[in-house]
Symmetry: C2
Subunit: 213 residues, 2 copies
């Protein structure tokens, strides 16, 4: 059975992005620190067409995710641009250039209809009829593999509150952002969690929970 999995980096104070995101700093003030652990890894740099990097205790965590996830769901906030709104005449093509790092089908939740956008081996499909429809379409596209919801915080919280998430994986980074987009803001009490796995890695702790109800 294809599971719905959350994968996201958070600060120790629970933010997945810092305050005041801009075009130059899409992750908000201080938000880049949430992803330093990942960009130190060869496995992640390759996805972004970058050289270098190394292997550490985070590598098998990432490889398990890459090997088992067949489609991603994201919110309009993660796709961008900041501010949202109608797409306009020269529509935004995401943050990631002509070769996005997903390399799998991506479903973008938005209020504004738009034709699919294919960049290299990633196709972005824009879904306007809600989170359950996006999940259904992503499951189809994942061809038996799992589906990941990768942000933002509000979209993850919506899937959790709706009882649709099977597994919650937080990459907890030892930084305090003090503001921004907070995960798990409007979810509990509700989903029961079971601690599945804890991985201590350089600059990050990977916490994996099964959502049991």
């Amino acid at each position: 059975m294809s599971r719905l999995r959350v994968h996201i980096s958070t600060s120790l104070d629970g933010y997945v992005a810092g305050p005041r995101p801009t075009l130059e700093h899409p992750l908000g003030e201080g938000g880049e620190a949430l992803h330093e652990w990942a960009f130190a890894l060869t496995a992640v740099r390759e996805l972004h067409g970058m050289q270098g990097g190394s292997t550490n205790a985070s590598t098998p965590v990432l490889q398990e995710e890459l090997g088992n996830v067949g489609a991603e769901i994201m919110g309009r906030g993660k796709f961008g641009p900041p501010g949202g709104g109608p797409w306009g005449e020269d529509p935004w093509r995401g943050w990631w250039g002509d070769d996005p790092p997903f390399h799998k089908p991506v479903f973008v939740l938005t209020h504004h209809p738009r034709e699919p956008l294919t960049l290299s081996d990633t196709t972005f499909t824009f879904v306007t009829d809600g989170i359950e429809s996006a999940l259904e379409q992503a499951r189809q596209a994942a061809r038996g593999k799992d589906v990941s919801v990768g942000g933002g915080a509000d979209v993850i919280d919506q899937y959790l509150a709706a009882g649709l998430v099977d597994q919650l994986e937080l990459h907890v980074v030892p930084v305090l952002l003090g503001g921004g987009a907070r995960l798990l803001e409007a979810v509990g009490p509700g989903p029961r969690l079971e601690q599945l796995r804890v991985v201590d890695a350089p600059g990050v702790t990977h916490l994996t929970y099964r959502v049991v109800s």
Copy 2:
């Protein structure tokens, strides 16, 4: 050098107590779940004069804390009663009966002066002149050992924001409370953290950080 250490159980969504605490449920709605991992341990049950319990991966974490901490600081909210205010004629003696589980000097931050209270081998000293004075008095009382600040969230956040904490140890419990007293609410950005230790134990993950600035 005697260090100032934070030790506290939190939910995955960052609460150290649930919403709406009462005399019957001092930890708020759902808050008891934060301490189930601890009350499963013989080492903790003994402190409370209780039989039974077992030993698991949390035991050495607790034993290290018990062995190295010589005094505790707590807020009036943790000491009680809910609502706070002047002590009155028949003053509140804490939640813990005639043999409190601390077995060491405890310093209670309060706006209302009061003579020290000794119950068995725990003496509560009431400090009205601020967090730095409480820390100084606790360091004296700890006789070279570390000082712990054990809650509530607001007191821990005050010590963190003031740059006085050397080590932050969170016992992260796989539960979502959805409200209550949130830790790290008014701290970042500021203190830089270094991940020191991660321990995967039954029903809890112990995360220890050094506060480096």
